[in-house]
């Protein structure tokens, strides 16, 4: 059963919070991973690896660079589930 965008956001926020120590509530749609959340490329790859497992999706490397904001990632993963 595919998760809704809201559920994916909640799950992704949990992963980001664990990885960075940020409050999950700060992980909102318009935030940029690099500029707003200060996530470096190694942390981004960790988040992607954990998200792939959590949402049972595969995110090719060439798509990761397009995931600029949290909303981009949520939309991508919600769609990729189906």
């Amino acid at each position: 059963m595919a998760l809704s965008e809201k559920e994916v956001l909640a799950g992704l926020a949990e992963i980001v919070a664990e990885e960075t120590g940020l409050d999950a509530a700060e992980v909102t749609g318009p935030k940029s991973f690099t500029d707003d959340l200060d996530i470096d490329s190694l942390s981004m790859m960790t988040i992607v690896t954990l998200a792939e497992e959590k949402f049972s999706v595969r995110i090719p490397d060439e798509d990761v660079k397009n995931l600029v904001t949290v909303a981009d990632a949520v939309a991508y993963m919600t769609k990729a589930q189906s």
């Binding site: 664990e18 990885e19 960075t20 120590g21 190694l42 790859m45 960790t46 690896t49 954990l50 792939e52 497992e53 595969r58």
Partner: protein, 411 residues
């Protein structure tokens, strides 16, 4: 010659989560050895069911992202570093004059093997990108470098169970050569993993005294049957005396000399006459311009193995001759277990504390001293060091024939 002093101390060990609790437990002769808090013995058929497990787990004092990004070996080093730096007064130091030398003997064994489990169970795509930075043996040194913003070089000399002592010797050299004014130096180990217990036990290096954990580590006792693995870290802040005095720092002791030799004998067994162990101690004294008769205290390597303990005891007697009768020996692994790459740093800490407080901590569990033992062993209760200036040696030896002796003198 630049004089090197100790201005800060930090530790997290099987005896306590900081220096104060570790030292208090050591003076009280308490053992940090306990039955393993897991099912490894049943699951893997391990013959060894005891270890010196860390008294305060790092996840109790570090944040969740910190524990996720660091192997336990680096976590313990960071805990010890923060305490040591605060103890030194958190001085303002030019980053280009601040160095690091922090070693582990085994490295990120938990990270490596957890990642191997992930690979086998879930496939390569699930192996996390932080795996390499966490498992590399210089990881604790690198994380301390990042924590401190240190730019004078960060080193991680690896020499098995002499690693922590060699890191302190490296830091001494950095200050002596003028490469740094302050160096964060120590050792760390978090290798209480079933593979390490099984592998050391395969060498018959570990005690199997599972029915008496607190009595299992018994250096120099006739019934000793191997070492007990311990985990933990200690970090010392070493500083040029000039730099320390200019900022009015409290000075615990001087690191007056170091001696390092290698056996060229066997990959694991120490050379039976202890000739190079003895020479390491002699070089440490000579490099400090000190005489054998200046020695008042030794914290020996003494791990509680059948062969190793007496080789070192003979090396000490051979070097000191009849003066050995005047030297108080404290085999503190009887309480902490053997912290492998962390051992040299924890014992350097004990040696500095002994000089500072004029008190030699006890060796516990020695009910029948080896009849060949010709040294003055401090047993069960601490004893006072003689008044006045004196030298205290801390010995560390590692598989591969690495011998390191550190010579501390009172400030």
């Amino acid at each position: 010659m630049t004089t090197v002093v100790v201005t800060g101390l930090g530790a997290t060990t099987p005896l306590g989560g900081d220096v104060a609790s570790t030292w208090e437990a050591a003076l009280a002769g308490r053992s940090g050895i306990r039955i393993l808090e897991n099912d490894w013995a049943e699951k893997y058929g391990l013959e060894v069911r005891i270890a010196g497990q860390i008294a305060v787990r790092p996840e109790e004092v570090l944040t969740r992202p910190e524990t996720k990004r660091m192997d336990p070996s680096a976590q313990l080093a960071i805990v010890a570093t923060r305490e040591a730096w605060a103890d030194a007064g958190s001085p303002e130091v030019d980053p280009e004059r601040l160095g690091v030398a922090v070693s582990s003997g085994i490295g990120g064994v938990w990270t490596l093997l957890d990642s191997w489990d992930t690979l086998r169970e879930k496939g390569a795509s699930r192996v996390l990108p932080m795996t390499v930075p966490m498992l590399m043996p210089n990881s604790p040194s690198a994380y301390v470098e990042l924590e401190m913003g240190a730019r004078a070089g960060a080193h991680a000399p690896v020499s098995a169970c002499a690693s922590g002592a060699e890191a302190i010797a490296t830091a001494y050299t950095m200050i002596q050569l003028g490469r740094a004014d302050v160096v964060v130096a120590g050792g760390t180990e978090a290798a209480t993993h079933p593979i390490c217990l099984a592998a050391f036990d395969a060498m018959r290096a570990l005690s199997r005294r599972n029915d008496d954990p607190a009595g299992a580590s018994r250096p120099y006792d006739v019934t000793r049957d191997g070492f007990v693995m311990g985990e933990g870290s200690s970090v010392l802040i070493l500083e040029s005396e000039e730099h320390a005095k200019a900022r009015g720092a409290k000075i615990y002791a001087r690191l007056s000399g170091v001696g390092m030799t290698s056996d060229a004998h066997h990959i694991a067994a120490p050379e039976p006459n202890g000739a190079e162990q003895s020479r390491a101690m002699r070089l440490a004294l000579e490099s400090a311009g000190l005489a054998i008769t200046d020695v008042v205290h030794i914290n020996p390597h003494a791990t509680s193995t059948v062969v190793g303990d007496m080789i070192e005891a003979r090396a000490i007697r051979g070097l000191l001759g009849s003066h050995a009768d005047n030297v108080l020996l404290s085999a503190t692994k009887s309480m902490t277990g053997h912290l492998l790459g962390g051992a040299g740093a924890v014992e350097a800490l004990f040696t500095v504390k002994a000089l500072h407080h004029r008190k030699a901590p006890p060796t516990i569990n020695v009910t029948q001293p080896d009849p060949e033992l010709e040294v003055d062993l401090v047993r069960d209760v601490p004893r006072d060091l003689p008044a006045g200036d004196g030298v205290a040696l801390s010995n560390s030896f590692g598989f591969g024939g690495h011998n390191v002796a550190l010579a501390f003198t009172n400030a």
